[in-house]
Symmetry: C2
Subunit: 301 residues, 2 copies
């Protein structure tokens, strides 16, 4: 990934280094490598694929943080907090192009097709979030949102890895559904951590979604449990929600049991992921994927 | 191209329609279709390629106009003049993803590879322009800039069309060099029109580059002819250049013969393009490409 920005403009190289320095969990590339390993895929092309997926993810984060005006990501300063919007837009574009170049290096038209479709899904989801989702308490909207935002990229990781492996179209489809299950779980847990986590472990301010008027699964369950909370009503009305209101709501949601219900839903997705994995060849890669799936519902709780 | 935004968020569909409504000359798709036609390429895939190239071009314009704060493009309002920066960034991203999806539909890994490399070149050029080029009077910088901005995409059009045709790698390279020659000419003429054209024909304000401190070929020739113009010195120093100064400079450059010299350089590129075309199979496509090349140095002058 680091090598991709070499011989480009020095400021661009510096920006790419900064973005990669934060590390991050690298969950998506791990998923691609393990799925491909499990299916006896070509190692060299899987590594290229894994880098392509992480770069695509990074590019969407750069534009996302610019749009949200986020200051922190993975515990370090976002690009937009230090650079002009112009430079941030272009750096994101450059990283998109890098992801596309790496995807092309897999030499698989099917992989590149999936890549471009996934990018369309992600961006269409962001536009829907921007124009439609704020202040909307809808399970359908939530599920579409977390699919576009997270599960689609997890699907890309597992399905593309299968495409680079000597397996049938049916197995590619099964790999995709595995990616979908753990992707949905991963985002639900992220949304729970947004309520239960501390800034220090999550790497960004608590209740960042709620502050933007985005209703995630814990808030949806809370609305079922306590339909008439005036704080929630005010938030959904789109009127200004001050810090005191947000703090009260976060506390109410935490103690209501709503976050536990959301976690149970994430665990159901993980159970489904385990069931799918059961049909794949046993071995070190499958066991690592099982551990990874379990880790998704246990991280920092 | 219009079909690509169907079934997406209504605002996204509206934005894409608006962008496509302006028409534009569609020079890049014409180039791809004619080059592919001349080389007996597959018609169906060439049409997909042509749409992919125009979409890639459109996506870069959307982000470019946002960065420059441009209000007009092709004589109609830019997206950023009516939409928020967030929506504009995402619409550009969506059009990038559309270009990538169409490129994938050509089913050629070589084409997709060229696509992603061209996007890297274009974006790296924009970042260089943002950080380095303003106030810089350098022929090397100018040539790199117009290659990244324009000629690289013309190369993509002609080389990709050749890649979708039953021709040798050598012919692909020749097609690429044809695209380069007319691409360089096209941008030089654009830069001349920025001085000699009227807003009504160019579709954007006169001397827009100069106002941004970007030194194009006519200004470079003017610096050779009149090395000690105090207006030019002030512009290059990066100090504020008011409207009166810009108007004086535009007039001085127009009457100095600098724009004629720049045009002569564009014509030399077109002569080279004709020489390259001479080696290709004669017929209706080649003659149309010859006419197109001639049109590039004659439009609205």
């Amino acid at each position: 990934m680091r090598a991709q920005a070499e011989n480009r403009h020095p400021d661009l190289e510096a920006a790419c280094k900064h973005l990669l320095s934060s590390g991050g969990k690298r969950v998506r590339p791990a998923l691609a490598l393990l799925t491909g390993g499990m299916l006896a895929g070509d190692q060299e092309r899987l590594i290229t694929l894994a880098a392509a997926i992480e770069m695509l993810h990074t590019a969407t984060l750069v534009h996302d943080d610019l749009i949200d005006g986020a200051l922190l990501r993975r515990g370090i300063a976002t690009l937009n907090s230090q650079w002009s919007p112009a430079a941030t837009v272009l750096t994101g574009d450059f990283i998109f192009s890098t992801a596309a170049r790496l995807a092309a290096e897999t030499n698989s038209v099917a992989v590149m097709r999936l890549f471009s479709e996934t990018l369309s899904t992600i961006v269409n989801g962001e536009i829907t979030q921007l124009f439609t989702s704020r202040g909307l308490a809808s399970r359908e909207n939530y599920e579409q949102r977390i699919y576009a935002k997270t599960a689609s990229l997890f699907e890309l990781a597992t399905a593309s890895a299968a495409l680079l492996s000597p397996v049938s179209a049916e197995t590619v489809e099964t790999a995709r559904s595995f990616g979908n299950a753990i992707g949905m779980a991963f985002q639900i847990v992220d949304d729970v951590l947004d309520f239960t986590g501390e800034q220090i472990t999550v790497g960004k301010p608590v209740a960042s979604d709620l502050r933007q008027g985005l209703i995630t699964l814990p808030a949806l369950y809370y609305l079922e449990l306590v339909p008439d909370d005036p704080d929630m009503a005010q938030l959904l009305s789109g009127n200004h929600a001050g810090e005191a209101l947000i703090q009260r709501l976060v506390h109410s949601i935490r103690v209501s049991g709503a976050t536990r219900r959301a976690m149970a839903e994430a665990e159901a997705h993980i159970a489904q992921a385990h069931a799918i994995l059961g049909g794949f060849p046993d071995g070190v890669h499958r066991r690592a994927l099982e551990d990874l799936a379990d880790y998704f519902v246990r991280r920092e709780l």
